[in-house]
Symmetry: D2
Subunit: 379 residues, 4 copies
Amino acid sequence: MKGLVYNGPRDVRIAEVSDPRIEKETDVLVKITTTNICGSDLHMYEGRTSVEKGKVLGHENLGQVIAVGKAVERVKVGDWVCLPFNIACGFCKNCEQGMTQACLNANPGSAGAAYGYAEMGPYNGGQAELLRVPYADFNCLVLPPDAIEKQNDYVMLADIWPTGWHATELAGVKTGDSVVVYGAGPVGLLAAYSALIKGAGDVMVVDRHPDRLKLAEQIGAIPIDDTKEDPVETVMKLTKGEGADRGCECVGWQCHDHGGHEVPNDTMNKLVRSVRATGALGVVGVFMPEDPKAQDPLMKHGQIAFDFGAFFSKNLRMGSGQTPVKAYNRLLSRLIESGKAKPSFLVSHELSLEQAPDAYKHFDARENGWTKVVLKPAA
Amino acid sequence: MKGLVYNGPRDVRIAEVSDPRIEKETDVLVKITTTNICGSDLHMYEGRTSVEKGKVLGHENLGQVIAVGKAVERVKVGDWVCLPFNIACGFCKNCEQGMTQACLNANPGSAGAAYGYAEMGPYNGGQAELLRVPYADFNCLVLPPDAIEKQNDYVMLADIWPTGWHATELAGVKTGDSVVVYGAGPVGLLAAYSALIKGAGDVMVVDRHPDRLKLAEQIGAIPIDDTKEDPVETVMKLTKGEGADRGCECVGWQCHDHGGHEVPNDTMNKLVRSVRATGALGVVGVFMPEDPKAQDPLMKHGQIAFDFGAFFSKNLRMGSGQTPVKAYNRLLSRLIESGKAKPSFLVSHELSLEQAPDAYKHFDARENGWTKVVLKPAA
Amino acid sequence: MKGLVYNGPRDVRIAEVSDPRIEKETDVLVKITTTNICGSDLHMYEGRTSVEKGKVLGHENLGQVIAVGKAVERVKVGDWVCLPFNIACGFCKNCEQGMTQACLNANPGSAGAAYGYAEMGPYNGGQAELLRVPYADFNCLVLPPDAIEKQNDYVMLADIWPTGWHATELAGVKTGDSVVVYGAGPVGLLAAYSALIKGAGDVMVVDRHPDRLKLAEQIGAIPIDDTKEDPVETVMKLTKGEGADRGCECVGWQCHDHGGHEVPNDTMNKLVRSVRATGALGVVGVFMPEDPKAQDPLMKHGQIAFDFGAFFSKNLRMGSGQTPVKAYNRLLSRLIESGKAKPSFLVSHELSLEQAPDAYKHFDARENGWTKVVLKPAA
Amino acid sequence: MKGLVYNGPRDVRIAEVSDPRIEKETDVLVKITTTNICGSDLHMYEGRTSVEKGKVLGHENLGQVIAVGKAVERVKVGDWVCLPFNIACGFCKNCEQGMTQACLNANPGSAGAAYGYAEMGPYNGGQAELLRVPYADFNCLVLPPDAIEKQNDYVMLADIWPTGWHATELAGVKTGDSVVVYGAGPVGLLAAYSALIKGAGDVMVVDRHPDRLKLAEQIGAIPIDDTKEDPVETVMKLTKGEGADRGCECVGWQCHDHGGHEVPNDTMNKLVRSVRATGALGVVGVFMPEDPKAQDPLMKHGQIAFDFGAFFSKNLRMGSGQTPVKAYNRLLSRLIESGKAKPSFLVSHELSLEQAPDAYKHFDARENGWTKVVLKPAA
């Protein structure tokens, strides 16, 4: 089959790779009809990770089941399914507590596995014609009948909507809360969208890309352009000097200043200043445990210069890390099915698999208008 | 009356100060019979804060009510009371949500007030014969009849036991959890004690003072001497390579290495390494928003070099800050009353008010055996 | 001043009563500009309670402060305030845990107090020109500047919106949940409105009054007319045979069958059948601990024949009782202020105080179109 | 193999039954070394259920794995395992939320399945030499090395300790709370034991069997003999007139008065009176959705005359139903492993499988001293 493989920094290609097959009785095979390029794919694309050459990328996957292992009971050939990017066994200590992002079996020796991702196990990704799905009864979200027409909505359940939603859960967003979100990429926009669905009050989104800020405004958030105003001051003004009740970090360690230099602690310290005493932060932007290529000397060892004194004095709380997709994807799918949510508002480009290498280039450059790329391998 | 006043770095004295009086109808006056020296008093004693000269110190106070304002309804003259170190109004946005540590009225312009403390409002402390207690119906914990004999137990409800308890709440300690506590000072010991009362599994306490480690062992915790073994490795070994479920920071920014140098990020980064993926941290050791006298250049600005990449990769959560004493003091008092808890196990010295300046000296030097000093002003 | 007083079953009158005054230093006096007739006032009106003759009724009150006691610190003369119907001290064991509906001091010997209500303490109500508000710093919700124009919205914060909201909290309504609400009176409608604000999926409302069902539909809920269809069957059909995730009881013990006979267990047992296994119920419709005049023999002693076996087999949970208004009124006021909510959609009649006795008559008869009556005493 | 089969009311026999075998790739077979008779087995024994003749009973099972299906990955031949009485798939909507007591796949058409139990699916029980375990990777709790010697402790994790623990979870028992437990059978005793492990204050246990009350006292609870004192009055006296903070129902619908008549609402209504306003109840004693043989006319239809008015007026909350064993068995096993808990204190009789029919007779008669029977089929 054809798949998009990593071939080195800023070098991804469409290649012929061997077809995946049922390896365990609990596997299924899925023909991929919709798969996204994720912002975190760019970490690998840019050569900032240890991902091996030849790996098929792609962890936001949706398609139709074409084969099932003998022990698969719930999932049937012909089912339309969306696959959580976390691969989880369903029966380890962490999975049984709902923390599928830290499965202890899917990638032995580590907590957590994923499709097509650096250091997340031997699994190929879904930017390809076919995908092997392990522990399929546990991992597959079987979609309702409207899935065929709404693939661009449901595919957001593989990662970025549950990730944005998780940011608001970690931050404890409740009805009426004011919320500030740093980052208006796809995850940041869906964090804001999640907060609004939960009935939050003012939802403020900080970024500097006009196309993204415009989308923030369209969904009902307040856009803050940090090239034009100090975001902390603006948040303070909008919250009558209190600070926001809740804050979400949706940028990660590659945060840049206006001059293009990486300032890994920028968003975190601004969040600490933007959120009111007793508030809480949800951090879903990726921070690496080490990054030898980082410009910032602390970040080489996975550290940031964090305003911990202010964090403590304000009695803040913080949660971080990958989302446990299965904790949220079922409830979010209901919102799509009922027409109450339409996360495909993000999609800027719908392309063929062959166009993927070119799309990586544009998306990596954060070109204006390249918000979210959806690929259609089986089309 | 006599009170212990701050007169400059490492200089506290017993002085004649004007008697406190009922200033508002909601005040009461308390004759102080038992008051502690707290580890956080040493921050002021060492000249590391902006506390003003002439301030009476002391925020762990217990005594008998001798006068009540006209609007006081619940508290009566003659009642024995323990006073939460947080002074709180009871009716601001934060107080009404139980976050009395961040009261917006008791120290206008700031979130949170306390007796006898730097930057926590104009209130004198209780290392003195008398104390004015504002918002008395809200702030006083009226004690049961056994209070007179058990003053050394009940006084621990003013601060350190609720602080230790809060560490375990922030860390989400539940029955069966393994817990690591960094710091075996009074707060760390009471964090361990709290975890054990909650039915935690292995509770490991890291410190280097033999007297404190011995107390940890006496209450049923596992002492870890970090001068003899690497605490992270020991925790890993004791938890079968997983890491502890929960971690508590009970040291703060003045953490020292074995050579006596301050290493403000030491305990936090060791906690991140000691706690298992998906675990949580409770941070109650004090970190200052700025400390111009700090040895560490980042800490001058209230920052630490924090292992944020590891924190993120392990999906950790963290809560921090002062405890809301009122959230816990009532339930903890029941444990004392029923004989199920006896936090006075900490007390190493019971002294008169006059002996307080000398006690500060010994306690500040962390002399062996000086675990907790209780003063008896009214004796 | 003038006030509406209870004079016996189905007999309320406008009478001259003595002006309230500051009785304690913590009181304020409020000139009432907006006050509602509540469905629970009808329990007293119909003579089903022990309310004493001469009592001024009215527990949903809003107005402007005209006098403050000496110990009042936060509330100022001139402030616009909405008063929670629960009168609470703010410092008893229950209040300090946020359970102001069960204050132990405001009505000694009982848990809970209210304005103008049977067996809820000696307090007159606000269907009058003036109202005395005890523990004013704790009880007053000071309103934002838009309060004068939006009085019909903010007055709903005194009782019925927090009551409807509480139903959804007790039932654990979360985003995406399907919810069934029995009763489309003002509380039931606001329970449905609350569920929708929280992002619930299908919200189904059961009633038989066309005007109320129409309002349910207007706010986005699914109306179910139980004179035309079996509500349990309809809920099952709409939830694909599963049952609703959550259920709210907003009718109470005076539930009638189509023939007009009281069937006190009707809604509760239908809820048990309508909600899916592992679901939860929130019960805010009033059930009396005894009602000698009840038609149902069990209900005379406060009992109902409850389908407890089904409740148990389905692993259901249930919470009940009065709402703690202060737990919710601040957050709900933000939704009004920001324009995200407009609970005045309920208001069918805006009348003078003099018209109140006549309004009781129409409202008690559940006449078509009499959804919610707002009185304007100070106009 | 040999197994204990149901042959009609009060008639159980040891019979030759066909050996279980691996039916699905996800099954394992377990040689049963320890299996208990449960109080709920008596419901079937007495002919109060629809259980079919020939069914092997027994849902509290522990033993060693002797065969594994091809898709089983985690569980190995030779492992010592304890089996939750709930059979659960691990991947349905309820299981993925941790509600394994309401699995939608293990007993299609119903929510929840179990071994050897009426209306809980086609599964034979473990009062036999061998047991088939479905969905084995999800259902088996693999035991630590000390399991062989501590079988009588670990077997309590199959049902009754998680059931007792669940009662305290549903009732929201926290450190310092006062708790009343109705029923000192094995589940009631373990509910009290659980509350004590959680650090509860006074734990009061109501029963009338001297041997059971003595065990309650031995573990640190306060025994209340309802043949000698009114339990509600005693609870009130012990709680200074307030009522207990939390209440647990561990008796069920077959509750008897002193004359031996079934009074199904007796414990529930006494709980409502024994627990303080704003408290909560956990109900784990079984109530049947219908019982045509019940003496009480309401109970024939699964109803009880419930003091709902008092429940409402006191703002109570209540949770009910089967425990989700997997939510608790891992944490409880740690307490056994560390020596902090020893639930085998309950065991009064350790018998061979052949002695089981006789043991049913004694246990059903509630003979003094027959607290808990443990059978040893493989011995």
